[in-house]
């Protein structure tokens, strides 16, 4: 069981003194306007950005003391989807998830093969497995990347806007997969830290919400506790009404300072 | 540009300059360029063209545009009358370079030459193909030294140049000397098969001045195909020459792709009796080519091989 701990993380100009703990089995969603420091924070967790102050721990290990392979064994990373350099085959892309285990594409060993097959089936890709990625739709591509992240069987998952630009079906499908992951399916047994823009999606799936603005965490708690109209006004500058976990945005609030866009 | 002009043009470059036909596109273009400027009749030797403008009876300010023309000037004219020589006059490739030590050089560009106010220009290839026409238009007499591919042509070219320079008797002296020296040659009786080798890896068969040099020294040419070609590496695997005539090893360097680099070629020079011919003797196709004939004729074909500088 590995938990994720951000301790006093500061990245000058972008993130200031952030403390955040992600427990095993928790799905935590980070919300906030553009420029709030969400992606920066995520990148410090992956050592893609070195914080000016503070440390990130996987369990008890400082992530900077680990080699990239060791880090990859602890955390699976789902970055914002970018076009791939080569039109690879779905199965090979999912097999990349086994990179930290020493797998080479085209010569997968038993355990790696099994992990790949499981990930493909979990994401409903088994009948796509020999297709080129450039022949798939956006939603299907997102599932492929999810499968890749799951194939690693790492205890932690970090996802940066995994459902951006997807159709409704796939938005929910991907979030379902991530939640199953935190519940111990698909090789996961740790937590997932996800950045989302869609409040409703966040409210539906998150165990905990983390609200960021201007590099600070302004609120960190359950959906019930932190999802309020005042919060939405403060963070996003919008007026809204909230019913249980569904949010209806009415519009921009006049007179509110423009949140950093 | 017919093919008939290309081969002689390339061969003329080889005889006039450094003894190697250039095998790259740039050289081919250069050859075509020069051939375009030369007269259309390309035989084994050609008349040099007398100046379109008559030269003064005793020219006092003569400028030479290339190192071949330098030789004629240095041989036939007193130094005080030579205004300037080409930039190559003092280099090892220049046969009379010791005589050129105190004479100034000029770059063969129209501007630099005209600034000196010469009264006669002499050239073989220097200044480019349009040089003769240009200087003529500028009002200067230009002696174009003809190309000579054998000793007869050399004699006639030398005489013509001497005539144009106003010193015909000196020309006769040179040709008479050539005849005497050629007559005095004792050629090898047994005609040893000789391969001509150069640092650039080319050799020559019948039809070139080098071939005639070898024949006059009583040597047989190992190379059976006429013209300038690469040293025949594959043939050397089966049969080897008795003797090596090595030209230009003092003035030219090997290039990285020269046939000469190959161990088979190196082996010939290392293990066969070899005579090293100065590059200056073999350039320009002029009277001093007889030095090469003499060197070859005098060489003993049981002489120990001379090691060359490049391994």
């Amino acid at each position: 069981m590995t938990d994720l701990l951000f301790q006093n993380i500061t990245v000058t100009g972008r993130v200031t003194q952030v403390d955040l703990h992600l427990d095993c089995g928790e799905l935590v969603v980070i919300l906030g306007p553009n420029g709030a420091g969400k992606t920066t924070l995520l990148k410090t967790a992956l050592n893609l950005i070195k914080p000016d102050k503070g440390q990130v721990f996987y369990g008890s290990q400082d992530n900077q003391s680990l080699s990239p392979i060791e880090r990859a064994k602890c955390v699976s990373y789902l970055p914002q989807i970018r076009p791939m350099a080569w039109p690879n085959i779905v199965r090979d892309i999912v097999a990349l998830g086994r990179y930290s285990h020493g797998a080479s594409l085209g010569r997968l060993k038993g355990q790696d093969k099994m992990a790949v097959n499981e990930a493909l089936s979990a994401c409903g890709l088994t009948h796509f497995s020999e297709r080129r990625i450039d022949s798939l739709s956006g939603g299907e591509i997102a599932r492929v990347h999810c499968a890749r992240a799951f194939a690693a069987k790492a205890p932690l998952l970090i996802a940066d806007e995994p459902v951006a630009a997807l159709d409704l079906h796939h938005q929910f499908k991907i979030m379902d997969l991530i939640r199953d992951y935190t519940r111990g399916h698909h090789g996961g047994n740790g937590g997932a830290l996800v950045v989302l823009h869609d409040i409703n999606l966040a409210a539906k799936y998150a165990d905990r919400l983390v609200w960021m603005k201007d590099g600070h965490i302004l609120a960190n708690g359950t959906v019930k506790d932190t999802l309020t109209t005042a919060r939405l006004a403060d963070i996003y500058g919008v007026s809204a009404s909230i019913n249980e976990t569904s949010v209806q945005i009415h519009g921009v609030l006049d007179g509110q300072p423009n949140p950093k866009a | 540009m017919s093919l008939g002009l290309i081969n002689p043009a390339l061969a003329s470059l080889s005889d006039l300059e450094y003894g190697k036909p250039m095998k790259s596109p740039a050289a081919l273009l250069l050859g075509l360029y020069i051939a375009a400027g030369l007269t259309a009749c390309r035989a084994q030797g050609s008349q040099n063209s007398s100046p379109a403008i008559t030269a003064p009876a005793k020219p006092m300010r003569i400028v030479s545009l290339d190192f071949c023309a330098d030789q004629y000037l240095l041989k036939l004219i007193e130094p005080e009358r030579i205004l300037a020589l080409s930039p190559d006059a003092r280099k090892p490739i220049s046969y009379l370079n010791d005589k050129a030590q105190n004479i100034p050089n000029v770059r063969p560009s129209a501007e630099d030459v005209l600034r000196l106010k010469p009264d006669l220009i002499i050239r073989s290839y220097g200044g480019g193909p349009n040089a003769a026409e240009f200087f003529t238009q500028a009002g200067l007499p230009v002696i174009n030294i003809g190309w000579a591919g054998d000793f007869e042509a050399i004699k006639s070219v030398t005489q013509n140049v001497a005539n144009d320079l106003g010193v015909p008797q000196r020309g006769q002296l040179i040709t008479a000397d050539m005849d005497a020296r050629l007559a005095a040659i004792k050629p090898h009786a047994n005609m040893p098969e000789t391969l001509y080798m150069t640092p650039s890896g080319t050799t020559t068969g019948a039809g070139s001045l080098v071939h005639q040099i070898m024949t006059k020294a009583g040597l047989g040419n190992f190379q059976t195909q006429s013209g300038w070609r690469d040293i025949p590496l594959e043939r050397l695997a089966y049969e080897q020459p008795d003797f090596i005539a090595a030209g230009f090893f003092d003035t030219n360097i090997e290039n990285a792709w020269s046939t000469m680099r190959h161990p088979i070629a190196r082996k010939q020079i290392a293990t066969r009796p070899a005579v090293f011919l100065d590059g200056s003797w073999l350039s320009c196709g002029a009277w001093f080519a007889i030095d090469a004939v003499e060197a070859l004729a005098n060489a003993s074909n049981t002489a120990p091989p001379t090691p060359i500088s490049t391994p």
Partner: protein, 330 residues
């Protein structure tokens, strides 16, 4: 897409066939019986010399040069995630040609026959070191490309300067050989000189090829998968630089084969950059051996240069790839 199992054996077979074909050609007509006997060391002594010392080294040189360039091109395309990347992009070939040209210009080559290949290798190592240092210090591969372009431009400008000051036509011809590329008159001694660098470069590339697969997802995602980005960049640059340097020392600067071979191979290996390395190497080797056969066989007035044949085929291929890519990634 299921050819990939047979791919490498097929390419090895093609390599052997092309080498044999290259040995069958030359100025001395030889029957197949003679060639075979010479290969196994029996028969006429002259035949054996012709095959083993003249034709075979030339063919093997062409193959080694192709192998180096094919592998380097494949690796660089994987690292830079761009199908138009090629070994010349590092500025290694240009710098190697430049240092060799300097050695000729200043007459150092008269010291020893090895001065020129040594000068070429030193130039290649210099360029490789500069780019490897940049790979250590910067994060962006764009910087590497720019430095490579800078090196090529500088080398090109300086060579133009030397061309300007060419003391004689042979110097010009020599420089042209370096920039056009040729394997004429190569012997086993030349190959043995280049071989250690070749093996070192290829070895480094092969050891670092796994990371190339991961890079297809982008640098951040690859890092998340466990790729050490800095080490990956440095190793690929070092390997490609050294291997390319060896090929320049052997044959001058030959371009395009490093772009075209990986491009042809990719569909057969499911577009995985790591798996393009060895097949590209073999294919490029075969390609150059055949191009060299063309160089010797085509009845042109002057002997065609190997690099020219490679460029004549490669340049249109380059344009075609560029246009294909445009439609894919717009």
């Amino acid at each position: 897409m299921n050819f990939h199992r047979a791919l490498i054996p097929a390419l090895i077979f093609a390599s052997l066939m092309s080498l044999l074909a290259a040995c069958a050609l030359g100025s001395t007509p030889m029957s197949f019986g003679q060639i075979f006997n010479a290969f196994i060391g029996r028969g006429n002594a002259g035949d054996i010399v012709v095959i083993w010392q003249i034709r075979l080294p030339r063919a093997i040189s062409a193959f080694c040069v192709g192998a180096a360039l094919g592998a380097s091109g494949a690796a660089l395309q994987g690292l830079l995630r761009n199908p138009l990347a090629e070994p010349g992009i590092l500025g290694v070939s240009a710098t190697a040609s430049l240092t060799a040209t300097f050695a000729i210009y200043y007459g150092i080559v008269s010291i020893s026959a090895w001065t020129m290949p040594i000068a070429a290798i030193l130039g290649a190592l210099l360029a490789t070191t500069i780019i490897a240092l940049a790979a250590v210090k910067t994060r962006s591969v764009v910087t590497l490309i720019l430095i490579g372009v800078g090196l090529s431009s500088f080398a090109g400008a300086t060579m133009s300067l030397l061309l300007n000051f060419a003391p004689n036509p042979f110097f010009l011809a020599d420089m042209i050989n370096w920039t056009l590329g040729s394997v004429a008159n190569r012997s086993f001694a030349d190959i043995l000189f280049a071989l250690p660098f070749l093996i070192l470069g290829l070895g480094i590339l092969l050891s670092a090829r796994r990371g190339l697969s991961a890079l297809t997802l982008g640098e951040d995602a690859a890092s998340g998968l466990g790729v050490n980005l800095k080490k990956q960049r440095v190793l690929i640059v070092l390997g490609a630089g050294i291997a390319t340097g060896a090929s320049v020392a052997l044959a001058g600067a030959i371009g395009f084969v490093g772009i075209v071979a990986p491009h042809v191979i990719r569909p057969f290996v499911r577009h995985d950059p790591a798996r393009t390395l060895i097949p590209s190497s073999l294919l490029a080797g075969v390609f150059l051996v055949i191009a060299d056969i063309g160089v010797r066989v085509l009845p042109t007035q002057n002997e065609l240069k190997l690099g020219v044949v490679a460029a004549l085929i490669g340049a249109p291929a380059f344009i075609w790839i560029a246009m294909q890519r445009r439609s894919l990634h717009d």
